[in-house]
Structures are given as structure tokens and as C-alpha cells.
């Protein structure tokens, strides 16, 4: 009995010691958790229990002048995979992806990716529109396969595909504009991302109601409204692409400007690219030639020389000019594109027949400085102010350094390099009764509520007198007359003023002219007695005997006709005055 009591007491002590020991361990651990590591555990608990969400701000849309979408943002997904999970079913998954995503992925590449050894994460395909990607994910889930995941992102879509691609530009992988309007107005188009933090159930991920949450509002990017008319742009794109193909030119440009407001209503380039599906994205296609490409304009420049002379009262459309059969200036032989003896042409005849020699004779009435100053006033050697990235200011040598040959050749557009936008602005001044304005491609921006902020147009500057502009316009009307150089540019019922250009191409490597290679162009505006639109066509390096009148003028005719029709510009009904071309 006594021994039993001793045993039970000892057992009791042992048990007590064990209990104390266990509680002691608990106590130590409790102290460690609560006392020493408290903040780390608390932080982990908060992290598990909170969800952070970035609310990406959608990039603003780029609209045409009537509100049609030219560039817009849509939900996109990037598909990723865990090769550990997909290796076994790689061919089946790749087949489903290829079926649903089409050309975006390569079947065999995808199989390789799905079987990447020693990896738990690979990118399968980026930037897929959400609706397409979701179809693929659903098909994979339906086939009872796992291991393909998705990440959300915003995708830039261009509903028109190639439409006005060089003007709109495109965005890079990070969603930043890297060309055209996308780049120039990147800050305006980009919104401010929002963020929200709220408490969730760590197990289910469901939000805990009425728990703490913080929200930073998302501000969507602003929409940019361009001055482009989508339908005219499309027509011009097609017409130009046809012309570039037919004349086997290296590239072509077509720009149409409203001469009253200097708004660019259409700006086409061929060949071009399609940022919507990513085809043709090479430098020679993505460069915006209208503002970035410099070239020698050739005879279109004669209109500027004549305007300068007319402004000084030194020429009228019937001024008689004796045109020699050839000239040698500074060891440089200059002739006309057709062989002739001594001709008796009027100033209008010089323009209508596009005589280099006649223009040189006329331009001799101005000193280098005067002529240079007029060219500067017309904006050559300076950016056009159109606000597009990467614009070039062309090359116009300072008048003080001109040689005799410079004076002669610059008068007919050789030895001077311009961008098409500079040329459009300069001749636009002649169309706009002597006042020059800066071309624009964007008219306003608007926020998500539709509140519009207009971009004010800069006031037009007078370059030459109204009479001088009218004189040159009369000369230019002779160009589209049946006996001019570009009867193909005439639009029945309308008075059309224009000028052809066939310029020698300069080899960029040697800086010398290349025999047989030309840049042909046509610049014109209508109606000549009350101009509304000016269209400029440039075709670079067409087949060797192509000229501005035969190759570029028909393109001008079609695009200008469409512009007049779309904007409801009726003919004025007046008749072109007959101007004598010879004397």
C-alpha cells in the first residue's frame, strides 16, 4: 500500500514535470513568436490577407475627324506555361494553341517551349487579344489539360490595319508610343494607373466585406482627335499603293491639306506597315517619309521662285522670257527635259512647259540674298511645325555661300533638299492667297467624359502678296490645260492649278546625281479660283521614263476628286483665263 502510494506520487511528479516541460516549450515558442519575431509574422499575415490590384489605365484612342477609331486599346493576354505540367501533353496543347491562335505561334516551337527542361515558367505567346486567348485557354481546359496560364495586359489595336499607319505610328512592348502621333502625343494618350488594396481571405482569395481598403483612382488616357478623314485616307492609301506598284517606285507619298485651315486630311505612304498584326515592321516602311525623308523636289519649286519674283513685281504671267537652248554655269551643263532651240515663252509658258532654263533666266532678276530670304520665308530649311517626331528641316544652303550654279539650280528645285510637308506648307501659301500657316494633324484632345480641349491653330503669316499668289496660281492653271505638262491632273468642271516635278535623285553615298533615277511629283490645288484642298504626290525612283505629269498627275486627279466630293466642294463655275504661253 505504502509502496503503491510512492509509485503513484513519483508518477505524478514525472507527469507534472512533463506537463511543465511541454508548457515551458510552448512558453518559449510563444515568447519567440510574440516577443522576438512578432513584426515579421504580423507582416506575413497582412501580406497573406491583403490583395493589391493595379488598375491599368487604358491608353486613349486616336480618332479621325469624324470620331471613327483609328487606334484603340483592347484587353490582351500573354500566355505562359509551366513545362513541368505541360511536357507530357505538349503536342496536344500545341495543336490546340495553333488551331485557336493561328499564325501567332509556331507549332514546333511551341512544343519545344512546352517541354523546356528544368523550368517551371515559359512565355508561349505575348499580346494576344483577350477573346482569342480565352478561347484557347477554354479549349485546353475542356481537353482536361493543365499548365497553361495567362497574364493580363493592354493591347493596342489599329482597326484600319495599314490605314494611315505612318501617321499614327505604333507602340512598343511596354505600351509606349515610339513613332508618329503615338509618340508625339504619348503623354496625352497615357493615363495614370490606379491601385487598390483590400483584405482578403487568404484561403479563398475572396474579399472580406467591410474590411480596410484603399483605392487610388485610375485616370484613363485622353483621346486624340486627328484632322484625318478616314475614308479619304483609305482611298488615298489604296490609290497610292496602286500607283507605286504600277510605276515600280521605291516608295510613294500622298498628302492632302485643307488650304483654309492647314489641316492635313490625308497622309498616305506606300509601302507601309500594319501595326495591328505586326506585318511589314521594317525601318524602310515605318519611317514617316512625309516629315523624315529629305529629297530634291525638282520643278515644283519653280512655283516658289515665281512667287518670289511676282511678289517683287518682277514678273507677271505674260512676262516674255527668251529661253536659250542650253546653259553652262560653273562648268555645269543645264538643259530642259526636251531638246529645243531658243524659245520665246511667257512666264506662264515657262511654268506650263516646266522649263528649267526659263526659270533660271527669270530668277536672275533676284540677288542670292533676296532669293534665299524668300525661300526662308516659305519655310525651307526649317521644320514645318506639324508636330510629328523625327521631323527633318531639310537642307537649304545659306544664301551668302551660294555659287552661281546654286542660284540657278535652286530656282528649279535641285541643290535644295526638302521634306514633303515643307513643300505642302510652302505651296499652301500660294493657294491661301499668300498667307502661310503651319500644317496640323491633331485638332483636339478629350478626356473620358468627352470634355474637349481644342489645340489652337497658329496664326497664318503673310509670305507674298495676294496678287503675287494669284499670278502664280494663273501660271499653275496652265499646267493642267490640254497643252500643259499635266493634262491628266485636270478635273472636269473644276479649275485646277498644279505643277509637275521630275527631279534627279541624289545617291546618299556619293552625294552625286544618279543618271536615270528620278523622284517624280505633282503638287496641285483646287478649285484654283477659291482653293480648298492641296494634294501633293511624290513617287521615288519609278521606272526610268516616268514623269510627274504622266505618273503622279493621275494619282493627284483621283485623290483630289475624292476629296472635293467627300467635302462637298462644288465647282465655282468660272472659266480659267486664257494665258499666252509664247510670244
Amino acid at each position: 500500500m505504502n509502496a503503491g502510494r510512492t509509485v503513484s506520487r513519483r508518477r505524478l511528479r514525472v507527469c507534472l514535470a512533463m506537463v511543465v516541460g511541454v508548457f515551458g516549450v510552448f512558453g518559449v515558442r510563444l515568447f519567440q513568436i510574440q516577443g522576438l519575431d512578432a513584426s515579421a509574422y504580423a507582416a506575413k499575415a497582412i501580406e497573406d490577407g491583403t490583395a493589391k490590384n493595379t488598375i491599368p489605365a487604358p491608353r486613349g484612342a486616336i480618332l479621325d475627324r469624324n470620331g471613327a477609331e483609328l487606334a484603340t486599346s483592347v484587353d490582351g493576354l500573354t500566355l505562359t506555361a509551366d513545362p513541368k505540367m505541360t511536357a507530357a501533353n505538349a503536342p496536344q496543347i500545341a495543336r490546340i494553341l495553333r488551331e485557336k491562335l493561328g499564325k501567332r505561334i509556331d507549332y514546333f516551337d511551341t512544343i519545344d517551349k512546352l517541354r523546356t527542361p528544368d523550368s517551371r515558367f515559359v512565355y508561349l505567346v505575348r499580346d494576344v487579344p483577350a477573346w482569342t486567348a480565352k478561347k484557347a485557354l477554354k479549349a485546353i481546359a475542356d481537353a482536361d489539360m493543365t499548365g497553361v496560364f495567362s497574364e493580363k495586359e493592354t493591347l493596342r489595336a489599329y482597326p484600319g490595319g495599314k490605314l494611315a499607319a505612318n501617321l499614327l505610328g505604333y507602340v512598343n512592348g511596354a505600351g509606349k508610343g515610339v513613332a508618329g502621333i503615338e509618340q508625339e502625343y504619348d503623354k496625352t494618350l497615357t493615363g495614370t494607373d490606379g491601385a487598390s488594396t483590400y483584405e482578403i481571405d487568404p484561403n479563398t482569395g475572396v474579399r472580406i466585406p467591410m474590411a480596410d481598403s484603399t483605392v487610388t483612382d485610375m485616370v484613363p488616357g485622353r483621346d486624340v482627335t486627328t484632322t484625318i478623314d478616314r475614308d479619304l485616307q483609305w482611298y488615298a492609301d489604296q490609290r497610292l499603293a496602286d500607283a507605286v506598284r504600277a510605276s515600280s517606285s521605291d516608295w510613294g507619298l500622298a498628302i492632302t491639306m485643307d488650304t483654309k485651315t492647314c489641316q492635313i486630311v490625308q497622309m498616305s505612304q506606300a509601302p507601309t506597315f500594319n501595326a495591328d498584326d505586326g506585318t511589314g515592321m521594317v525601318d524602310s516602311n515605318t519611317v514617316s517619309r512625309g516629315v523624315q525623308n529629305v529629297y530634291e523636289p525638282g520643278s515644283v519649286m519653280k512655283t516658289i521662285t515665281m512667287a518670289a519674283l511676282a511678289d517683287q513685281g518682277k514678273i507677271a504671267s505674260d512676262t516674255p522670257i527668251v529661253v536659250p537652248s542650253g546653259m553652262r554655269i560653273d562648268n555645269f551643263q543645264i538643259g530642259d527635259y526636251w531638246k529645243h532651240g531658243v524659245l520665246h515663252l511667257t512666264a506662264a509658258g515657262v511654268i506650263a512647259k516646266s522649263s528649267n532654263l526659263g526659270t533660271i533666266v527669270a530668277s536672275q532678276q533676284m540677288s542670292d540674298t533676296v532669293m534665299y530670304n524668300y525661300f526662308r520665308k516659305f519655310g525651307f530649311g526649317q521644320m514645318s511645325g506639324v508636330n510629328l517626331p523625327g521631323e527633318s528641316d531639310g537642307i537649304l544652303k545659306n544664301g551668302k555661300e551660294w555659287t552661281k550654279a546654286n542660284h540657278a539650280t535652286i530656282a528649279f528645285g535641285q541643290g535644295v533638299s526638302v521634306t514633303a510637308m515643307q513643300m505642302v506648307r510652302a505651296v499652301g501659301a500660294i493657294a491661301n492667297a499668300g498667307k502661310m500657316c503651319e500644317p496640323s494633324v491633331v485638332s483636339s484632345t478629350s478626356d473620358a467624359d468627352g470634355k474637349e480641349t481644342k489645340i489652337p491653330a497658329k496664326p497664318a503669316k503673310r509670305v507674298v502678296s495676294k496678287d503675287a499668289a494669284a499670278t502664280v496660281t494663273r501660271m499653275m492653271e496652265a499646267v493642267t490645260a490640254p497643252d500643259g505638262t499635266a493634262p491628266a491632273a485636270a478635273i472636269k468642271g473644276y479649275r485646277v492649278a498644279g505643277k509637275t516635278g521630275t527631279a534627279w535623285r541624289v545617291d546618299p553615298q556619293t552625294g552625286r546625281y544618279i543618271r536615270g533615277q528620278n523622284t517624280v511629283s505633282f503638287m496641285g490645288f483646287a478649285p484654283a479660283d477659291n482653293p480648298r484642298f492641296l494634294t501633293y504626290i511624290v513617287l521615288d525612283k519609278p521606272y526610268s521614263n516616268a514623269g510627274g505629269g504622266s505618273t503622279a498627275a493621275p494619282v493627284f486627279h483621283d485623290i483630289m476628286s475624292m476629296a472635293l466630293e467627300r467635302f462637298g466642294v462644288a465647282p465655282t463655275g468660272s472659266k480659267s483665263p486664257k494665258v499666252k504661253q509664247t510670244w
Partner: protein
């Protein structure tokens, strides 16, 4: 109001008579035992418990409903995202159907050709402005449409 009233009453009764047993007896007043409260405790407890339990049950119901709604909110959010995707898909389809390329392609398929000679009819006097000319296939360079 009442202190003022008391003061007025007091003022009227002054000076206060001194208390004496004789005067009390004469007035018929005597001391009585203090009355013991017989109010029952049970109903009070029941009321309090009822309120508490109603509150508790209410809280549980509220919390459950909120939780359920939270699930519902999440489901609806997912549905909204899905519908937005679908809306984007549909609006893109509409865009591509409305695009000038598509309209032109279908017009060409119907044998239509772009007009290259703009002419206008002035409604006020019925005058034709410009020189209208029948559009013929071949007088335009757009014969096919590339997207």
C-alpha cells in the same frame, strides 16, 4: 423651468414652518416602513438576453449575407470582365465590317466603281455643278482592295 417654478413656490411658502412631532401628529402624519421593491428580475434578464441574441443572430446573418454578396460580387466582376472582352470582340467586328476597306470590297463585288468626276446638284435651282460623267470600270485605279 422647474427650478424657477420651485423658487416661486418656495417664495410663496416662506417662511418654512419648523418641524415638530406635535405639529406632525396634528397634521395626521406618521413614519412608515420603507417599501421593499417587488419588481421581478426574470423579465429583465429575458429582455436583455433576447436583445443580445437578436443582435448576435443579426450580426451572424449580416456577416453571412455580406460574405455571400462578396462571393456574388466576385462572380459578377468576373462576368463583367468576360462581357467586356466579348463587347470588345463585337465592336471590333463592327469596326471591321464598317471599315472603308470592307465597304469598298463589297461595293466592287457588286460591280460598283469609285466616282472620279465629282458633280453636284444644287437643290435651290436644280442646277448641275461640275461635269457629271458615268463612272465606268477602268477609269479608276482601284480595282481590287487590299486590307
Amino acid at each position: 423651468m422647474s427650478p424657477q417654478l420651485a423658487r416661486v413656490v418656495g417664495g410663496a411658502a416662506a417662511p418654512a414652518p419648523r418641524f415638530s412631532p406635535e405639529s406632525a401628529k396634528a397634521a395626521g402624519l406618521r413614519l412608515v416602513r420603507p417599501v421593499r421593491s417587488r419588481a421581478r428580475k426574470a423579465p429583465f434578464v429575458v429582455v436583455v438576453l433576447t436583445i443580445l441574441s437578436i443582435g448576435l443572430v443579426g450580426l451572424i446573418i449580416l456577416s453571412t449575407v455580406l460574405q455571400a454578396q462578396s462571393f456574388e460580387a466576385q462572380r459578377l466582376n468576373e462576368r463583367a470582365a468576360e462581357l467586356e472582352t466579348q463587347q470588345q470582340l463585337l465592336s471590333r467586328e463592327v469596326d471591321s465590317l464598317q471599315s472603308p476597306a470592307n465597304v469598298a470590297r463589297r461595293a466592287i463585288a457588286f460591280g460598283m466603281v469609285p466616282n472620279t468626276n465629282p458633280a453636284f446638284l444644287r437643290l435651290s435651282d436644280g442646277k448641275v455643278l461640275g461635269k457629271p460623267e458615268a463612272a465606268k470600270p477602268g477609269n479608276t485605279n482601284i480595282r481590287s482592295v487590299s486590307p
